[in-house]
Amino acid sequence: MTDTKRPREPFAPWDRRSLPGLFDVDETAERIGYYKWAEIKLFEALGGWVATVPELDVKLRLGTHCYHHAWHADLFDKRLPELREMQTERLTVPPNDHMVEFFESMTEPEAAHMTIEKLVGVYRVLIPHKIAAYTYHRNGTSEITDMPTIRILDFILQDEFNDWREGEMLIQSMIESPEELERAMSHQTKLEKIMLAAGGIAGPGSIGNPYVEVVEKN
């Protein structure tokens, strides 16, 4: 018979989660507001582009991915009140003006012959930056106090990786000449420069700071 009075530790031996995390409640809410803003801008753009792309497979993928990012926005929107932000619109903002400029440039291509530019902006620039920022947040936040955010980010990252792979394959399938390759690279560089100025999708510090500050000794 099981001895029900025999004590056990609250954490199993294999459970190495720890309390400390990089972000407090306010910082977490602020970052999630930035994420939500970016997800909204992205799903709006994907939806708008559907009518403008002639390639049938791309058209259908954009329609599908549009919903993925809308769902992410909804998940972030629902998390904000749990972080004491009841007016969720208040934090649903870009981290800086460069991020606004990024989305304006990313959504500029409209013509039917510019599918490569549309895909490059999303799948070679924005989504890789989202994956980086979400991964940094997911790995850095407290695994106990902020587990609801980790759970959300895990679901979202699964979508992001799948969508990135599909988008990248569409781009590779559409680049058939050196000129098209040049177009893709040139557009990517243009957008990356704006993203660099923005500091990532959550602004400077989107993926932390890997450099060590060395104090000079006298």
Binding site: I40, A45, A51, K59, Y67
Partner: protein, 266 residues
Amino acid sequence: MRKIFPAEELARDSRFIRQSNEQRMGDPRGARIAGGNTSGNLAKLTPGLPNGPDRARALMHGIFVGEIQALEGAGRTCWDFELGDEVPLALKLDMARQCWDEARHCEISVSLAEHMGTELGEYAENALLYEAACNPDPVLRLTGVNRALEGLAIDVFNTMKEFGNMAGDPVLEFCEDWMLADEVTHVKMGSDWLRRLTENDKDRLDKALEFQKVVDRLFSFNGFRGEDDDSPIQLTRRFRELAGFTDEEIDEIADMSRDARSEANA
């Protein structure tokens, strides 16, 4: 990218052929005409009709291009309106969900068209459905698309589901039933948003319902969709009720169809 993308610029590959509605209705292979399906000689779409299978093939192609335009329309609703000022986030989230559903419907209907022996581009496309999705008022747009056109889709999918059952085609019946479930959801979205966004605006509600009638009338096809036994596409009361239509509203669509038929016969 512009707000409000014109129907004549919808991006298509070389297989698609764009025609006006008048040209399309005059196409002897079209769903309405094939099989002598004029207003004076209507017949419910069944496999037993002399041209029943051909009419079903044409209709499936029409469903496919309709789904593309429904996808494009829902996508544009995500983009065309400003959050907060014009529409709430929840409405855009519904439209994004509809994008995913319509993308799947495109995949289903193009596969079913192939299953039925039809090639992409075999029939022409007109942009009537997308044109309804260009209305600059989001309430009118949702009412015209989600209640009128998606309502028509309920009737069409139920008719095709029955066709599949009668033809002994379990693939067609299975797929149409799944699409029918999605369409009920889309029509209910339209009914819910119409109610929520016009709660304190009777004038806007009236305008939206009038726009719905205009679209419903356009797609009544001289009595093509109705409640009479010989209506090629049967008006589906049960699913429309699930989607938020009142008995009076369904009666009105049935009457509209009879009127359209009488006018065509006059």
